[in-house]
Every structure is written in C-alpha cells, then in structure tokens.
Subunit: 206 residues, 4 copies
DNA sequence: TATGAATGAGTGTTCATTCAT
DNA sequence: GATGAATGAACACTCATTCAT
C-alpha cells in the first residue's frame, strides 16, 4: 500500500513530466524554461530538481518510455502472420501516429544533436532505440521488396521510403488538430502515399 | 542622386543583413546574438537597431529576398520549353537546394509561427510568397499528371508529392555537410525518389 | 536510566556532529551542504534541524569539545615536573597539532568573526576558552623567561612567540598532507624554530 | 585628450575594482556576490561583465598590479647600498605592510588554491610573481646569514624566518585598525621579532 | 523522533534593448 | 548616423530551511 505522501509525490512528478511534455512539444525544448514547467505543473521550479537532475534529464525521461513502447508495438506488428506489405503499412502508420502524438518531441528521436562524448548514457540509449527502429523498418521494407540485404537498391529505396514517412510527420507535426482528427482525416492519404510509392519502387526493382 | 552618406548607410544595412543571414543559417536564430551579428558586420550592436526594429525584424527582412528570388527562378523554369516532368524535377531540386541553403531558416517559410495580430505585414508577405510557391508546384504537378485542376486526385497526389519533397528537406536540414556536398552526393537519390513516386502515381491516375 | 529512544537519539546527534566535523575539516564550512552532512551521518537532512538550530550552530557545537580537550591537555603538560622550556616546547607542538587537525576550523578559534549581539553565548564560550589558552601559553613563556608578569618585556616577547606559532599554523593549514605526515616531517623544524627564537629572546632579556 | 564618456567608463571600472577589493578583503572571495560588488560600486551587476570576463577575472586583475608593484619595491630595496641585515629588515617590513594593505587578499598570493591545469595563464602569473618574491627574500636571508645557497641550513632558517613573517601578517590581517595605525604602533615589535630571531639563528649558524 | 516534499532567496552569467553622447 | 555605456529581465541551478505527516 502506498502512503498519501508517496501518492502526492508521484502525482507531482507526473504533473511535472506531463507539463514538460506539453510545453516541449508546443514551444520547443530551448524556448521552455524550468519556471514555465513549474508554473504549468503547479509547483515551485526548485521542486523539479527534486525529481529530475536537470532540464536535459527531464527531456530524456520524457522521451525514453514512449519510444520503448513504440519499439514493442513494432515488434508485435512484425511478428504477426500477415503479408509483408500489410505489415509495412501498419508499422508506417503506427510510427506516424507515434510521432504526431509526441509532436515536436520527435526531433529528439530523429536528429542526432548534442551527443556529448563524455557522458554518453542517456543519448546512447535514445540512439540505440532509434537505430533499432530504423533497422526494423528497413527489415520490413526488405521483406516487401524481396531484396537481398546487401543489395544497393535496398539502401536507396529505404531512403526514399523514409523521405515519404518523414515528410508526412514533418508536415503535420505543427498542426493544431488532435492526432485522432489528423489520423481519422488523413489515414487514407497516408496509406495511398505508401501504396503508390511502393508501386513505383517495385516497377524499378523488377 | 544618392549622397555618399546614404550610400555608406545602405552598405552598413546590407552588411548587417548579410551577416545575420550567414549566422542564422549556420548556427540557428536563437543561438546567434546581436553582438555576433554586429561583429560579423563590422559595426556596433546598437547600430543594428537603427535599421531594424529588433532581432525578429532582421529575420523577416532576411527571409523575403531569397524567397522572392526562388519564386522568380521557379517562374523561369516553368516558362522553359521542356517536358512538364523535366520541369517538375528541376523545380523540385531547386526548392530542395533553396531550403538546404537557408537551412533552419526554412522553418520560417513552412511553419506559421508566432503570427502577432497587431503587426501582421511581414508574416503576411511570407505567407503570400509561400502560397505562391505551393501554387506553382501544384500547377507543375497538374501539368505532369494531366489532371483537371478541380480533380480531387490532384489534391491527393500533390499532397503526396509534397510529403516526399518535405521529407528530403527535413532529413538533411540538420546535416553538417555543405549544400554542395549534399546535392553532389544525393541529387541522383532525390531524382530517383521523384521518378518512382511519379511512376506510382501515374499508374493510379491512369 | 536512559530509554532506548533517548539512546538512539543521542547516537544520531553524535553521528551528525561527527560527520559535520569530518566534512567541515576536509572541505571547509561553506563548501559543505546540510545534505552532505546528512548523507554522511546516515539520516535525513531535516533531522539535523531537530538537534541543531542551523548550520552555524553545528559549527559552534563542533568547536567546543576539541578546544576544551586541548585546554585539558595543556593543563596536564603544565603540571608535569619538567623544565619550563620543555613544557613550553611540548605545549607549542600540541597547539600546532591541534590546529592542523582542526584545519580551517581553527579560524573559528582565532578570529572573532560574526559576533551577534543577541545570542552571544556560543561565541562567548569560545572566546573564554581561547583566552584561557592564551593565558596558559603566556604563563608558560613567563616561566621560561623568568620574567615578572607585569614586565613590559613579557608582553613583547609573548607576542613574538605567538608570531612564530601562528605563522607555522597558517603556513600548513592549507596543506593537503595529513597531520601525521606534516608533524612527522616538520616537527624538528618547528622545534628548532622555537629553540632559536628563545635563544634570541633570552639574549635580550638578560 | 580623453572624452567624457571614456572618463566615465574608466571611473566605473575603477569603482568596480575598488568595491571588489574592499569586499573581497573584508568578507572573502566566495562570500561576496557580483550583486554586492555592483551595489557598492553603484552600478548594475551586469555592468561588471562589460569590464571583466567573470568573477575570477576580477580577483586576478585586482591582485596582479599590487604584487608587481611590491616586487619592484623589493628590487629597489635589494639594490640599495646598505648592510644586508638592514635590507632584509626593510624588505620584511615592506612585505608586511603590503599584505596588511591588501588584507585578506594576501591569501591569494600565499595559498596555492585552485590552480586549474587547463587554463593556466592568470594563476601562473601570480604563481610566478609569488615565487619571485620568495626567491628574493631567500636571497636576502642568505646574504645576512652568509650561507652557501646549497646549505641545508639555509632552507631551514629561511623557513623559520617565514614563520615569523607569515605569523605577523596572519595575526593582524583581521584587525580593524588602519595599516598606518598598525604599522605605527607595532613596527618596533615587528623589528624586534626579526632581530631576536636573527640573533638566535646566528648563534646556531656559527 | 524523524522524514520526504516543497520552496524562496540567491548564485553567476547572458542577452536584447535603451540612452546619452 | 553611429556607438560605448549601462541595464532589467531572464536563464539553469543550488541551498538552507520549513511544513505536513
């Protein structure tokens, strides 16, 4: 059983994390101050330092859990018993949804940025997760195209596939609509984009 | 006739603008200080305020000329006597190059960002320019696909075309390579991406 | 009879005091935080406030026991049946050792520092102890020189003797060596300094 | 001719330096804040950063000029045509006066403290100056005692001489009296301390 | 008795901006 | 027109201390 204190503490921490998430997403990491986060979370800015080492720690704690969850979901989708192209489609949509839910935070995942050599642990973790995600997507594309993993064409068309994916995310990451609205309205568009792209690619691969 | 003073004055202003452009592009808007710009421009940081209301004004004045130049170049390309698909390809590559040259400044073009109600003029101007650019690209795509401008399919595939375009830009806008290096290395990749995409789209449009 | 609770309580207090002593001595008063002390003492930092009004109170409580112990030892040395000059030598070396063991804490003994008018008790106590120590040393010097306690020369040469003593302490109070190392290495030097000084003084006194 | 602006600027800088000097001396470097200095100097705390890189720079600018001046004066005294013992006496008194004028700042000269390896320039400069001073004093003592520079006795008695010197400085560096008052009142005492010490030492050296 | 939670005051430092010249 | 001087607001972060439990 958890005491009332522990409960309150947990609430405060969650509130800080949630506030930081909202603010980082809407205004960007640099533009958000610790006091902004505190005000949003309804506590003193010093309280944040009780739960998080510094501003950067906040950012990382904020980004690891969702990305790990995403990886798990991708794994689940990959292990399903369905045509490779269906899997790729599902994974792609899932990645899009994930990035839109985490809005501008996705920059954290997809840009290398500030990888300090001396204290590598947190960035390394994200780097690893990101590389894993890329690997899984590549794997899925490979299965769809029926290419050998050494084939130069695989790299080329994976890149191009990523352009489409990243373009979708970048286009709508600044939207004011909710993710539900966006996905509801545009999922067919996204699906179509992958479909036509794969048609084009297949015409080249063979 | 312009006096010598006016001439010197104009030179200073241009120097400030040029310096700000270089610095904003290479280090990002936030990371550049007014003193940095002044040092680069060879004047005092207070001098900047004679010509520009504040730092943001600098950014806006800075973004109009290149975007206008881009529009002009796109117009030139459009008016050339060559196959529509060649034109679209050329325009697309030109837009990519433009966005990479202006790096993180391109956010200014493609995101709405901080539209203050009281003094809308500069944002409006950029909005107009951007809309024009989108219009021209759409027009070019329309010509390639041979679609009616009212056709729902036009909107759909233009959107998808933009995904690819925007994805390329977003992918490489944080790169440390020079634009020359990037374009030299990846232009074939970019071209291939547009080609396969159009193949796929055409197979649907008929 | 003391209850178990009282016993535990006393232990905690002693632990805090001991930890603070170690830390103040090794890192200096200002550089040590209440949390540092608490961690070292194995309790919460708030617990410290149960036993001590504030950080400064800790410092004062910390300085009394050793200085009282020193006074006692000096008394023992004084009461021994040996030549006065041997006694003075022994006392001097003991004082040096004491000051080096308590390192930068010795400032507390030898400087007046922040005597608040409202709550004078702790400073008063230290003042008294210090004055007693000075008195005993003067007494010992007097015995060595065979001077009358009213003699002006006594004050003069006592002062000079203190210069030497204080100079030794000040010189080595910032050293990184342990007290054992320092005393082992330099005790002959210290002894020689007192010896030549007394030779010089005696040549003047008669 | 200097403009009014330059004059004001110079005044501000001097005022900051003077205020920092007073405060560092009376309360110690760490206990003084940039805002304290600014208030004392009658300017904003940010103004300090116009003239000095950071707090440490202030400290070093504050300490170099006087120590260089001291070195010069010691050189002058050394080059005079008078008995070695008179020179040593004069130099010793000069060093005492210097340290009392610069009160607790002398800690900066005489303690090694915080010599960072990476950015050595400022500390190095002070280190050099201090070593020069020590060298000159040793040289002077050597001349008085007529010892060979390799003689072990020279090191021993130089050390002891320094104890006396440093003891005097440490004793009066916290005094509230002005330097004039102190020197006027105690110069005979200081002179006597050196005299008896040298008598004692000479009796050993030969 | 003891503690985790929380905070206000304060640290050095930076920066866009204003003002007097 | 141009600039050096100056500043207030803000930044991330720390710490001694208080409060509710």
């Amino acid at each position: 059983m958890v005491s009332k204190q522990e409960q309150r503490s947990e609430e405060t921490k969650k509130s800080i994390l949630a506030s930081a998430g909202v603010l980082f997403s809407s205004r960007g990491y640099d533009a958000v101050t610790m006091r902004d986060i505190a005000k949003e979370a309804g506590c003193s800015h010093t309280t944040i330092y009780i739960y998080f080492k510094d501003k950067e720690a906040l950012l990382h704690q904020l980004s690891m859990p969702p990305i790990l969850q995403l990886l798990e979901q991708v794994d689940t989708l990959l292990s399903e018993d369905s045509p490779p192209s269906d899997k790729l489609q599902a994974i792609s949509l899932r990645v899009i949804e994930f990035c839109l839910v985490n809005r501008n935070m996705y920059n954290l995942f997809f840009t290398v940025k500030s990888v300090r050599v001396d204290e590598q642990t947190p960035e390394m973790a994200i780097n690893q997760a990101r590389n894993k995600l890329f690997g899984k997507l590549t794997e899925s594309i490979q299965a769809v195209l029926g290419l050998n993993s050494q084939d130069e064409q695989l790299l080329l068309y994976t890149r191009i596939y990523f352009f489409n994916l990243y373009g979708i995310i970048a286009t709508y990451s600044n939207s004011d609509e909710t993710v539900e609205q966006l996905m509801g309205r545009l999922q067919p568009t996204f699906a179509e984009s992958f479909e036509v792209l794969l048609i084009g690619i297949r015409s080249k691969v063979k």
